[in-house]
């Protein structure tokens, strides 16, 4: 399901400190962890590398914004050993032919293994199911119409029924379009003051409730993407308590920022779903802590400089995130004590891997080497020219962060550092 550059594995040694505090030297032979021995002098933290279940590689169609090569290089720099790419490209990944050609390119270009998601509906039009079975056989990592909701409840129901045949999960972008219509930001006091079209919390939560009800009815699992509002978190908690096999992700920007950030009218604070209130953010952090939300996903959404260098109202939704996710969350959640480092590492690695049935990166002898070395004390400033991504639409530009990825080993290869 995951594909990366073929043909070689590295042999190397890494020194670092384990989460428990023990200093070790890890030997990787032909891409596999062969020895973990006490000793070594590095103070950097050695941990299983990260998995990002939500990345826009913009390929095919917008290679000016990102390519498989540049997006996976960004992932490597961010400490990721696996990423899942969204199918809302041009053309849409809705056929085995498009999927096959992407996987072929990834075999040549992908620095970090990539799984490609395919769309639920043909052309993301929300009308006809794609050939989920054939796409699953051809290696689709999951199915989603991300960027758009599945508006028709009947279509989503059929997709849930058929996902069992395809053997891959559904991941849903929850948005009730008649409520979000003409919205540029979260509806609340800030939108009232700025005069920007408001997007009520309900636009997400009523769709979350509907999608969970369908999943419950069909007895099928479901993954909720970029959850952003407290009402949605409450709905997810209720559904999980009732036995629905629902998982969910939250993005670094929703876990750190609120709609107050939009007062700057900086187009890099414009995202879909929009940044919520402080209580929304607190609910997301709480849910990430207790595992209701089991993964961090960047929703890395590159946009060209021209597209974002316009008045807020004219700007497209989305920000990049692969290269800053760990540092942003370490700085804004771990250091102030909102979440433990161990929890953050789990939600960035094993959590997303489990949600999508991917192999969990582990730091064990005999495991394929998927490792990240983190300098938790390193301070650095996010700058426009510091990205491997082709795009620089980061919400963190100019900010100083604490914690940095020093080395990344993905699928047995040293891909960063």
């Amino acid at each position: 399901m995951l594909v990366g550059r073929n043909g070689y594995s590295d042999s190397l040694t890494l020194e670092g400190r384990l989460a428990g505090g023990r200093c070790v030297t890890v030997t990787v032979s032909d891409g596999v962890i062969s020895r973990i021995e006490p000793g070594g002098s590095s103070r950097a933290l050695l941990a299983p590398a990260f998995v990002d279940p939500h990345v826009h590689l913009r390929t095919p169609g917008r290679e000016d914004e990102e390519t498989i090569a540049s997006g996976t290089a960004a992932a490597a720099a961010g400490g990721y050993c696996a990423i899942l790419a969204m199918p809302n490209t041009d053309p849409v990944v809705d056929s085995a032919a498009v999927l096959g050609s992407l996987r072929e390119t990834a075999r040549r270009e992908a620095v970090v293994p990539v799984g490609f998601m395919a769309s639920i509906s043909k052309g993301l039009a929300g009308e006809e199911l794609t050939e989920l079975g054939e796409l699953g056989d051809a290696g689709a990592a999951a199915f989603t119409d991300d960027g758009r909701p599945v508006v028709s409840a009947a279509l989503l129901r059929r997709a849930l029924q058929y996902a069992e045949v395809a053997g891959r999960p559904l991941a849903l972008h929850c948005e009730e379009p008649t409520l979000s219509h003409a919205g540029h930001m979260h509806e609340g006091t800030v939108s009232a003051e700025l005069g920007l079209g408001g997007w009520p919390s309900l636009a997400e939560s009523v769709m979350v409730e509907r999608d969970l009800a369908l999943a419950a009815h069909e007895g099928q699992p479901l993954h909720l993407m970029h959850l952003s509002k407290c009402e949605s978190v409450a709905a997810l908690e209720r559904a999980r308590a009732a036995g629905v096999a629902a998982t969910a992700e939250a993005t670094p920007h929703h876990l750190v920022l609120t709609d107050e950030a939009v007062r700057s009218l900086d187009p890099n604070t414009k995202m879909n779903p929009p940044l919520g209130s402080a209580s929304d953010r607190d609910a997301l952090v709480g849910a990430l802590r207790d595992g209701t939300i089991c993964c961090v996903a960047t929703d890395h959404a590159p946009h060209s400089r021209e597209e974002k260098d316009v008045p807020f109202e004219a700007a497209p939704f989305g920000v990049t995130g692969l290269e800053t996710a760990f540092a942003a969350l370490h700085t804004h959640l771990v250091e102030p004590g909102l979440i433990s480092l161990e929890t953050l590492l789990e939600r960035m690695s094993a959590g997303p891997a489990r949600a999508f049935g991917l192999p969990e990166p582990t730091l064990e002898v005999g495991a394929r080497a998927n490792l990240v070395l983190l300098d938790l004390e390193a301070e650095w400033t996010v700058t426009e020219d510091g990205f491997r991504s082709r795009s620089a639409n980061s919400w963190l530009l100019g900010q100083q962060l604490r914690g940095r990825v020093v080395k990344t080993v993905a699928d047995g290869r040293l891909v960063h550092g």
Binding site: G188, T189, A192, G195, L265, V310, F312, E313, A315
Partner: protein, 316 residues
């Protein structure tokens, strides 16, 4: 000359939020000093004021241009129609181009929220020291309108502190209302927002859907009902007819002596009865007059802050 202002850092007027009470009082005082001065003042001689308008406008564009001319500035009016904007030039490139003419100020009106901020940002890119005056950015802010409204209110009622103002109509889509609510708050006046629930957002000020809420107001400030918002299917209100019946400002709904204001252009017979617009209690013409002196005062305040307002008449 050393700057005597309470806010020496201020360079642009993008939002009423950029001002404090002292700034507002100083601008109004400057406007009073300018009111009635005949002929041109030499204040901005040799300096360039560009008015960049991406939306249709009569009052605002005319008064800014005239205000700049009265202060002896060179003026360069640019309208999106007939300019390179028609050829797809981005706002960024337009700003970089205009910056090359070394303007002292760019007055900008644009249909999108955040456009004035973008102009200010790219003047930095262009290493230009020009001041940006926001003449309306989408549904966000229109700060000089709020300042001229304060001026007209003060002229008519003799004070601002303690005044009670009812703002009636489509607050949701009104940059005028957003700036005015903030400005009234700065000078110690109180506000009630009156209109259909879907057009009066929560979180700005006290709100009421009953037209009777205007009874206690010293000033009834009527907003324009934008017809495009009232198209079938928008459903902010069931119909324009129903809006007028419930929230239209008619002589019967007003007390004698209650002042009525409107930022223009008026839809007579929709939000405002023609008899009210033409009555002695209407300040609509005073608002237009105030527009000129207040915009002169704003340009003076931003571009010639060292010159005390009291000396202005003497300079003439």
């Amino acid at each position: 000359m050393p700057e005597s202002s309470s806010q020496p850092e201020r360079r642009h007027l993008l939002s009423i939020g950029d001002l404090d009470r002292g700034d507002v009082e100083r601008i109004l005082e400057t406007a009073r000093a300018l009111d009635g001065v005949e002929g041109k003042l030499p204040t901005l001689a040799g300096r360039l004021v560009i008015t960049l308008f991406y939306e249709s406008s009569t009052r605002t564009s005319a008064s800014f241009e005239l205000a700049a001319k009265r202060l002896s500035a060179d003026t360069l009016p640019i309208r999106s129609a007939g300019s390179s904007v028609d050829k797809g030039e981005s706002l960024k490139d337009t700003v970089l181009t205009l910056a090359a003419y070394e303007p002292a100020a760019i007055v900008v009106r644009h249909p999108q929220v955040g456009s004035a901020q973008l102009v200010a940002k790219h003047l930095v890119t262009a290493d230009s020291g020009a001041t940006v005056v926001n003449a309306g950015d989408g549904t966000h802010q229109h700060p000089t309108q709020a300042l001229l409204d304060l001026y007209a209110m003060e002229q008519a009622l003799g004070r601002l502190e303690g005044l009670h103002v009812a703002i009636v109509g489509d607050v949701l889509h009104s940059r005028v209302a957003r700036s005015l609510v903030q400005a009234l708050g700065l000078v110690g006046a109180s506000v009630v927002l009156v209109g259909p629930p879907a057009l009066v957002p929560r979180g700005l000020a006290e709100r009421s859907m009953e037209i009777s809420a205007i009874e206690s107001a010293d000033v009834v400030y009527v907003l324009r009902m934008q017809r495009e918002r009232m198209l079938a299917g928008a459903n902010y209100v069931p119909s324009l007819r129903e809006y007028t019946a419930r929230w239209g400002i008619t002589p019967e709904r007003l007390r004698p002596g209650q002042k009525v204001m409107h930022p223009g252009p008026i839809n007579r017979g929709v939000e405002l009865d023609g008899r009210v617009a033409d009555s002695a209690d209407s300040l609509v013409v005073e608002q237009v007059r105030a527009g000129l002196v207040v915009r002169m005062a704003v340009l003076h305040d931003l571009l010639a802050q060292g010159v005390p307002a009291g000396e202005i008449a003497g300079v003439a």
